[in-house]
């Protein structure tokens, strides 16, 4: 019953919240429910409770319990619920159903995590899609529809894939041990379909296009909870279960996943590099990071898999942190355009510090958590490379390793732009007014997330070994040892050394400043360039320019392809089948009318006419009889 409460309580609470009139009452009530849910999830993580089953029909049941990773992810889901709820309280005014949807979202995500059978999983999964649609429609109907179509397509394919899997393995409960070997074509079909479902939820290429579109219109907290954290949790969780429990991957499957992962990392980060809208920049990074997680699983090496799981958690932490940071900054200056921001660090030190931690973390700078998990994924790829006997596989390993590292470098490049454009440099806003630091409701979630980044970065192996290792069948073996504390000490030592140099030099010399000199004429001190300016040149480089042109092609957008395909199919079927039958029925109708017209014409009312017909009939009868 305890598990049941994690789902039923928020669902009912959501209904109550919907009925509340007062905005702050809505927020406080949802916060209370979410905190309760968080406490509950922590409680059941440490003291496992009994599974529960609700019988529906035959072997179609709803069964809940904790298996594998679900307990851990459950805690993070509920934590994000609480943090986003706090943040939303301090953010702009939301629609009346926002808090209800938030609470329901957490409820159904909990359901996915607690699902022990496929029908429960699909139920929670589908409900998440509906809530995704409703929450994205806070932005605009168009982006919400795009998400619904793409993720909906993937969900239905997932349904089909799971159906095939259930039929092939004759088991409707979610397996939690070594999966079936991919040895039959039908299992391959099931594997690919399920993979599409998981990857589309996580936002992997080519199912990603709705994320950047939505980011431009949807309120920041929604982006921070959905594409940045919950969708990743659900998608990567399912991917983990597919790769670990449902199927045992072979080389082909691994290679396929690795190539997909590498392409996602590179292409998404390249697109991120040239964005001027901070939400779109983050959205493309949200896509790029999925590549790392998928890569971790694709290595099929314990350290890589653990790295993938760890990266999922880390990514959710810093990515939602980044969205929230961006949201605060943008709210202060009323723009999301990176070219119009700048110089906010002086006014908002806490937000700046947190933003910096997130930015460094996502770029994989030690000793933060992003580095720790990326490092594990690299190790996984390296071990895979060493163990591989197949030449093609070795090549793929090398390719993906290079892609991952290159992607990491580009991530750093784009986050230097992010931090510089928002917090450092000069103020490029039109008003140039000083702003005040964000309120506590906005700052608190940021601080918690930044603290998590640092803590998980300082003690990654402790976290991984105690919370992720138990769910893997093999032991994690680190080939590269890594002690964060030492690195941290070194960093502090370096900082202290630098400070000493600075302090000792300051006493002797004073800084001289000179005005700009242009051809002997005096000019005003206005020659400052936005941080984004430099990145424009990348877009115009000879080879890259072509690549960008292809990447930006609307025709490659899965959404457009899908719409086009469905419409063509629809017209084709409509005209060839439906209208054809319509024509035939009409022709039949006209034939009947024509026949009756013909017989009507025969009724002239003249006696001799009828006589002729009778005689003709008699003759015909006579001939027939004669011929027999």
């Amino acid at each position: 019953m305890t598990l049941f409460l994690l789902i039923v309580l928020p669902i009912l609470a959501g209904l109550v919240i919907l009925g509340l009139k007062n905005k702050s009452a809505k927020r406080n009530f949802s916060l209370a429910v979410l905190v309760l849910s968080l406490v509950w999830s922590i409680f059941i993580f440490f003291r496992p409770v009994q599974d529960i089953t609700i019988e529906l029909l035959g072997d179609y049941n709803l069964s809940l319990g904790l298996r594998s990773l679900s307990g851990l992810i459950l805690i993070f889901i509920d934590l994000f619920g609480v943090l986003i709820c706090i943040f939303s309280g301090g953010y702009k005014e939301e629609k009346s159903f926002y808090f209800s949807c938030l609470v329901w979202l957490i409820a159904f995500s909990n359901l996915v995590m607690l699902a022990l059978d496929f029908i429960t999983l699909m139920f929670g999964w589908g409900a998440n899609l509906v809530l995704l649609y409703v929450l994205l429609s806070l932005g605009s109907g168009k982006s919400a529809r795009k998400a619904l179509y793409i993720v909906g397509l993937a969900d239905f394919l997932l349904l089909l894939g799971i159906g095939i899997y259930v039929a092939a393995t004759v088991n409707i409960t979610i397996p939690s041990n070594l999966g079936v070997v991919l040895d039959r074509p039908i299992l391959w079909v099931s594997f690919i379909l399920m993979l599409i479902g998981a990857l589309a939820k996580a936002g992997c290429m080519p199912f990603h296009t709705w994320i950047p579109d939505a980011s431009e219109e949807v309120p920041v907290p929604v982006m921070a909870i959905l594409p940045a954290s919950l969708d990743k949790f659900l998608g990567i969780y399912l991917l983990a279960r597919i790769c670990l429990d449902f199927f045992s991957l072979n080389n082909v499957a691994m290679g396929l996943l690795m190539i997909l992962a590498s392409l996602t990392i590179i292409f998404a980060v390249m697109m991120a590099l040239i964005q001027h809208d901070l939400r779109k920049l983050l959205a493309f990074h949200a896509i790029s990071q999925v590549g790392y997680m998928v890569l971790g699983f694709a290595t099929a090496v314990p350290v890589g898999i653990a790295g993938g799981i760890f990266h999922m958690i880390n990514n959710a932490i810093y990515k939602s942190g980044l969205f929230l940071t961006g949201g605060i900054a943008a709210e202060k200056r009323n723009t999301f355009d990176l070219e119009k921001l700048g110089g906010l660090a002086a006014f908002m030190p806490v937000t700046f510090f947190c933003g910096l931690v997130f930015a460094l973390s996502i770029s994989g700078i030690p000793p933060l958590n992003g580095f720790a998990s990326k490092w594990m994924i690299y190790q996984g790829a390296l071990i895979g490379l060493f163990n591989s006997t197949n030449k093609i596989m070795s090549a793929i390993f090398i390719f993906s390793l290079v892609a991952a590292m290159f992607g990491s470098a580009l991530t750093l490049a784009s986050f230097i732009k992010f931090i510089h454009a928002i917090f450092l440099g000069q103020d490029h806003s039109s008003e140039k007014k000083p702003v005040i630091e964000a309120g506590l409701k906005l700052r608190f979630p940021l601080m918690v997330l930044a603290l998590l980044c640092i803590l998980l970065g300082l003690a990654p192996s402790a976290f991984v070994l105690s919370y992720i290792q138990p769910y893997l069948t093999a032991n994690i073996y680190f080939i590269g040892s890594w002690e964060s504390i030492f690195v941290l000490l070194f960093i502090f030592f370096g900082l202290a050394l630098g400070f000493m140099f600075w302090a000792s030099n300051k006493a002797k010399t004073t800084m001289k400043q000179d005005g700009p000199f242009i051809g002997g004429e005096t000019t005003a001190l206005q020659a400052s360039f936005p941080a984004t300016e430099f990145y424009r040149s990348i877009e115009e480089m000879p080879l890259l320019a072509m690549a960008y042109r292809v990447l930006k092609l609307q025709a490659l957008d899965l959404y457009n392809i899908l719409i086009c395909l469905m419409n063509v199919l629809a017209y084709f079927l409509f005209i060839l089948v439906d209208r054809f039958i319509y024509l035939i029925t009409n022709a039949f109708g006209y034939a009947v009318l024509g026949l009756s017209w013909f017989f009507r014409r025969l009724h002239t009312g003249l006696l001799d006419f009828y006589l002729v017909w009778s005689l003709a009939g008699l003759i015909a009868l006579f001939i027939v009889l004669m011929l027999r």
Binding site: L56, L57, F108, G141, M566, Y571
Partner: protein, 464 residues
Amino acid sequence: MTPLTLTICLPLFGAFIIAALPAKYKSRLSVFVLGLTFLASIFCLFAVFNKEQLSFRQAVNDWFSLSFFADGLGVFMASVSSFVAFLISIYSLEYMQDYPQKNDFYFWMVLFVGSMMGLIFSANLLLIYCFWEITAVCSWRLIGFYRREKDTKAADRAFLTTFFGASLLLAGIILIFINQGTLDLNLLERKTLFNWAAFLLLAGIIAKSAQLPLQTWLPEAGVAPTPVTALLHAAVLVKIGVFIFARLFKTTFVVSQSFFDITVFISTATIIVGGAGALVENNMKRILAYSTISQLGYIILAFSLTDNLAFTFGLLYILAHSLAKAGLFLCAGIVEHKTGTKNINELGGLLKQMPVCATAYLACAFSIIGLAPFLGFWPKLGIIWLTIKEGRLVAASFAVIGALFTMFYLMRLFNKVFLGEVKIQAQEGKNSLMVYTVAILGALSLLFGLVVKLPLNLISGLLR
């Protein structure tokens, strides 16, 4: 009077009383009669659930008897259709009040529900045929309600197509009588039905349930007033065919596997073609009519599977579809009533003006698409999985494509009508009965989805 005879007689005789009464009482009395019919059917439902025998028998001769019986399938269908019909009658109180021909309307509608009840509970094949034709006559009058040329044409098309099917059905019934010597369903139970007779019966069902290739009459019938289309397309008329399919091929006769192979083929083809038609059309009612064609394919598909669970899911689909599709038609009706057009290209931005209607539309649409946590999710998932389980992977894939079509056309309709720029100003109006009705249908689609154990246990309890 048992609840069984009450359920049949109330609307059948009530219709004539309504016809005889002065105009101002007709509308309210029809709501009252249909409400009582619903109550009576609920009594039947509980009686059958508690394993009570309900039957009425008045033998006439060896091939015809005035006999009725209530079983799980029958009471389920009766409760669902009478409930939706009741809601539609409440809706039409407001919708029909401005139409001059409304006096006719109530008589035909109540008579229609009555003949549906009679058909559901009939225990004799010929009696089924009689009620079958009464419903055809009622629908003919109701579709051609406005008596313009295009209305009568559409009505004729509907009548002729279903009559064509019905005559084949009658031929099938005669064949059964020649072969078995009786038309009593209870005596015919577990008898093997040879393919010829089965296909003749199927032709009637296909015509009534608008399956390929006899589907063209249903989209044309959209010219009727909205309560009629909701009643015919969503709740009652098209479900007759599906019901008879279940009645004959699932609970009475034993038919060969090759017969079900054919019906699986027909239903999957219908799912796809109906969905395609709905995506192409621009008229709200035609879109929803094609949608009905497509969704009925899922029900026939469910009934064509051998698994008993599939039968239960098929019945659940009937419930989900009746509620949600009635909701969709009635929403479209409100929009049409307030704006005066059915063309989705002339509409837009009504979300702000009609928030309740739009929300109800969305809930019903999600249910039809088969998204959790709405009711439609459960049967769609069950049917697709059970289809795969029986090794019909291609059919299951087509069913998934059909679901995608459903998502596309229902959301396209939503986007064009409720989102975007406002093209025609309209208000849904406060305290409108029509809005309440659609809100109830939308809420039920969600509620039953969340507590699906309730309808599922009810259905499996009834079938046991």
